[in-house]
């Protein structure tokens, strides 16, 4: 019987995983119940590696400090040597063990929209940063069989192309202080660039393009909003087709189905099911409550949200069926991770997180039970 499990993305805590000291994980485990009573499984975590205090700590321990703050993800993670990455792996394993107890790390999450920038220097750092995180995932896998880091998440980048700012010299009668003009890239241009940058990342990590063992899949995340490369169903399909055509990325890149983002972007479950090129590339999922038409932030899902989420949970279960897994293996497509991560970025209260994880677990059980019933 196919199964999926809830997990938690650590971005709920802005103090970071290295600097934070939250006993919340034990509370999470205690709160999670199963059919046969309390769960004995520790809730897996998805490690968000772009949190500012963590970046500061990494930069300090690897001698990158001295740069002007703020420390951006690409500056810190893009500047790590193999030795530093090894040290960082040990520190993460130690801290996760210390603060979170023995629990699996199933994914690493990043936020590096600079990867699609036209500026080569910035883009180069971003490529190195993403490559560094993939290295980190591999090292974590090697460090313990517990940490089966399946995916490394990345936003597909920003459309910002160029900007010109000059002091205003009359003509405009509002209170603008500058003449500020910003140009966005055309979709086909920036998509080409993203593909090229991902190829560079893959080449940087492997050195040999054909090797695939020990690889986490790169999961591209859709962000709603006109300034993102991957922002709606149209761009999702376009990128899926580009990846399908690319020999190097074909088996290494998929999509993170952030259910709230996809819903805000107006994507319906039937569209995904109909568009196999997209469905076949879903390698991981996120879930959180959201406003129907706006990205105010992650919230606690309401009962109406949960009802709307059920077909999405069913889709993730479908992706874990033996038939689907076999199909993906035959076509050399990356597999679905088997986890749906609760994402409550910068949450205001631990209760909220515990409640949502518990509810997700119940909903998964409910959908599974309904499927079993209908199969009988």
């Amino acid at each position: 019987m196919e199964a999926i499990y809830p997990s938690v993305i650590t971005s709920f805590d802005t103090t970071g995983i290295l600097a934070g000291k939250q006993p919340i994980y034990k509370l999470l485990d205690a709160a999670l119940s199963t059919d046969s009573g309390k769960s004995e499984i520790a809730i897996p975590i998805e490690l968000y590696v772009s949190m500012e205090p963590d970046l500061f700590r990494i930069a300090r321990s690897s001698g990158l400090l001295g740069r002007k703050r703020p420390l951006m993800t690409e500056d810190v993670l893009g500047g790590l040597s193999a030795i530093h990455l090894g040290k960082l792996t040990k520190e993460i394993v130690k801290k996760v063990g210390l603060h979170c107890g023995e629990r699996p790390i199933i994914a690493l999450a990043t936020y590096i929209p600079e990867i699609s920038k036209r500026n080569q220097a910035t883009a180069g750092k971003s490529e190195s940063a993403l490559a560094g995180v993939i290295h980190l995932a591999r090292l974590l896998r090697e460090s313990s069989p517990l940490h089966k880091v399946f995916v490394v998440e990345a936003v597909a980048g920003s459309r910002f192309s160029t900007g010109v700012a000059s002091n205003r010299s009359g003509g405009s009668n509002d209170d603008a202080k500058l003449n500020l003009n910003i140009e966005l890239d055309e979709d086909h241009v920036v998509q080409d660039r993203v593909i090229e940058r991902l190829e560079n990342v893959v080449n940087e990590v492997t050195g040999v393009a054909s090797k695939n063992e020990g690889w986490p899949t790169i999961a591209l995340e859709l962000e709603p909003g006109p300034f993102f490369v991957l922002r709606d169903f149209e761009t999702l399909c376009q990128l899926a087709e580009r990846i399908d055509r690319n020999k190097l990325l074909y088996d290494k890149v998929g999509f993170n189905m952030d259910i709230s983002h996809w819903r805000i972007a107006g994507i319906g479950i039937h569209e995904i099911r109909e568009h196999v090129a997209v469905a076949d590339r879903i390698v991981h999922a996120h879930i959180s409550g959201h406003h129907p038409h706006a990205h105010f932030g992650d919230s606690i899902p309401t009962e109406r949200d949960w009802l709307a989420f059920e077909p999405w949970i069913e889709l993730t279960l479908d992706l874990m069926t033996p038939i689907m897994q076999k199909r993906r293996t035959e076509r050399a497509l990356p597999q679905f991770s088997g986890f749906v991560s609760v994402e409550l970025e910068a949450s205001q209260h631990a209760d909220h997180l515990i409640h949502v994880v518990n509810e997700l677990n119940d909903r998964i059980q409910k959908v599974k039970a309904l499927r079993t019933q209908s199969m009988r």
């Binding site: 709920f12 802005t14 103090t15 939250q22 919340i24 509370l27 500012e52 002007k68 703020p70 951006m72 993800t73 690409e74 936020y111 929209p113 600079e114 920038k117 980048g157 920003s158 910002f160 192309s161 900007g163 700012a165 205003r168 009359g170 405009s172 009668n173 509002d174 209170d175 603008a176 202080k177 500058l178 500020l180 003009n181 910003i182 140009e183 966005l184 055309e186 962000e223 909003g225 006109p226 300034f227 959201h290 406003h291 038409h293 706006a294 990205h295 105010f296 932030g297 992650d298 919230s299 606690i300 970025e345 910068a346 949450s347 205001q348 209260h349 209760d351 909220h352 997180l353 515990i354």
Partner: protein, 552 residues
């Protein structure tokens, strides 16, 4: 035990990330709004605005804002939340831009934004007690900001910064979208609104013209209805025109329809006046906010001999003197109005000649009080622009809109004042005060509305009357309608007595011409007329027969 997350205990973090000056300005705003309060709490928190600002420049941080929770002591409930302000991490944001786009801005430009930019991103406010006499629009977005479900309605507010991708107009649109969130097809951040206004891939980050504001609100991405209210040319007396505009503005405010008001910031803030007069003759001053003349920025002083540095008193704000010394500005430009958008978010419940409105000014503070005369005095070239932001189904303006579309007030004048329409409904002419009080009502949600839904007291009576009529089958079950209350009393609007007389229900979906001779057409817009005292139907227009038929 569960515990709060992401709290900021170290005040140095605030100073380092938001900036010293910005914190002082936010504290001043809190004191202005709530008086001395309890110790605020600070948390890192998500924000749709700071996120969109990062999106614009394609930078990874700071996506999260610093959220300030303000608490006040409440008589009955003890300590309660009064506001949450998402604060921009201005210092961090400017540093990020500096890192990511080293050549885009000059150092002094970024420094000016970091020190003088508005710190308030998307914020929610419970209006303090001193606004109890006002009807204030509210939205139910609290749960998306982590507040308990069922928390009271909150007033949205936002300060704009140009680096955030837009100016006052976009900030007003954002606040309007929040207030109309049930009907909007999407709520976008400020930068995204600029993208909608610009269309295509080139963004000119500046304020929006009236036509652009209307286009953005009517676009598929926002999904609302907006137009500029235009008063019919046959209202030739300026006094009457003002009264009509004031009545329309009040009707919108009482109907929870935010109105974007475009005026001259210079006059509004009193910047054209000598410093000592600003307190008495400007909206800012009357609300206790007196702007001091700014010192000329260091950029303008750099490299000049001391004698050539313009003195602060020579600055004529609103005419770009903040960035250029006055002698470099042509006289014509000095006189140019500083176009500025504010949002009308409420009005006092009592009404009358000196009826006051509440305004959210994205350049400064929320909940400024101003009379209609204040607004008219701050108008650009005596031409006050009002843009109501309506649910998409509403097509009929109150006064009128271009090109030549008559408003429902104009229609009512045709049948109730100009012609002998009143007598056709069994009420003698001049026995009531015209145009009465107007409100926009969704009949579909009448039964679901409760006292918690922020209905003005006067409308509670109207609501029960309409419900009763609806139950009898005298009203359409769903749809938006303009409801006009005509009260009997002494001749001459706006004096009124409490005894009500008639309620007219007007179709809000139709557009009509402004020509008074088309009276028959106008009558098609009347859905029903009720006698308020007996709560009975006086007449109903029957579409089948095309005649007005009295039922009583």
């Amino acid at each position: 035990m569960p515990f709060p997350l992401n709290q900021i205990d170290n005040p140095s973090v605030l100073e380092e990330q938001i900036g010293k000056h910005a914190i002082v300005r936010v504290d001043r705003l809190c004191r202005w709004l709530f008086g001395p309060g309890t110790e605020p709490h600070y948390h890192f928190a998500p924000s749709i605005i700071t996120r969109s600002e990062c999106e614009l420049f394609g930078i990874s941080g700071p996506r999260f804002a610093i959220r300030k929770y303000v608490f006040t002591e409440k008589e009955s409930e003890g300590r309660g939340i009064s506001a949450l302000f998402n604060l921009r991490r201005l210092q961090w944001f400017c540093n990020s831009i500096r890192n990511a786009h080293p050549t885009l801005f000059q150092e002094d430009q970024l420094a000016a934004f970091a020190d003088h930019g508005g710190a308030l991103a998307d914020s929610l406010i419970i209006p303090p007690k001193r606004y109890d006499a006002f009807h204030v629009m509210r939205c139910n977005l609290g749960s998306y900001y982590g507040l308990e479900a069922g928390s009271p309605g909150l007033l949205p507010f936002l300060q704009h910064i140009q680096l955030g991708g837009g100016m006052c107009a976009q900030a007003c649109i954002f606040m309007s979208l929040c207030l109309q969130e049930q009907y909007a097809s999407g709520i976008s951040g400020v930068a995204e609104l600029t993208a909608i206004a610009n269309e295509g891939n080139k963004l000119n980050v500046k304020g929006l013209e009236d036509s652009q504001i209307i286009r953005v609100l009517n676009s598929e991405k926002c999904g609302l209805a907006a137009f500029r209210e235009v008063i019919a040319p046959n209202w030739n007396s300026s006094r009457t025109r003002s009264r009509m505009l004031s009545a329309a503005l009040r009707a919108y405010a009482l109907s929870n329809v935010p109105v974007i008001c475009v005026l001259d910031l210079t006059k509004f803030a009193g910047l054209h006046l000598p410093y000592f007069l600003r307190r008495w003759f400007s909206v800012y001053g009357k609300n206790g906010v007196v702007l001091r003349p700014r010192k000329t920025p260091a950029a303008d002083c750099r490299g000049r001999p001391p004698a050539k540095i313009p003195a602060a008193k020579d600055c004529k704000p609103g005419a770009d003197c903040h960035t250029r010394p006055p002698e470099e500005i042509p006289t014509a430009e000095k006189r140019k109005p500083a176009k500025h958008a504010v949002l009308v978010v409420g009005c006092d419940r009592t009404g009358g000649l000196k009826s006051r409105f509440l305004l959210n000014d994205p350049a400064k503070y929320p909940l400024f009080q101003a009379t209609f005369r204040d607004l008219r005095n701050a108008a650009i070239n005596q031409n006050l622009t009002l843009i109501p932001v309506l649910p998409p189904a509403v097509k009929t303006p109150l006064l009128g809109r271009l090109p030549g579309i008559g408003g429902v007030m104009e229609w009512s004048r045709v049948v109730q004042v100009v012609a002998d329409g009143s007598s056709a409904f069994g009420v003698s002419e001049n026995s009531r005060h015209w145009p009465g009080e107007w409100s926009l009502v969704d009949f579909g949600t009448l039964s679901q509305r409760s006292g918690n839904d922020n209905i003005p007291v006067a409308q509670c009576h109207l609501q029960s009357m309409l419900l009763e009529a609806g139950n009898r089958g005298d009203l359409p079950p769903i749809g938006w309608y303009w409801v006009q209350q005509l009260r009997t009393g002494l001749l001459g609007w706006p004096f009124r007595r409490s005894t009500s007389s008639q309620v007219w229900i007007w179709d809000s979906k139709a557009d009509g011409p402004m020509k008074p001779e088309l009276r028959a057409k106008v009558m098609e817009r009347v859905v029903a007329v009720f006698d308020c005292d007996s709560v009975s139907l006086v007449t109903r227009y029957t579409r089948k027969s095309g005649k007005v038929g009295a039922t009583k």
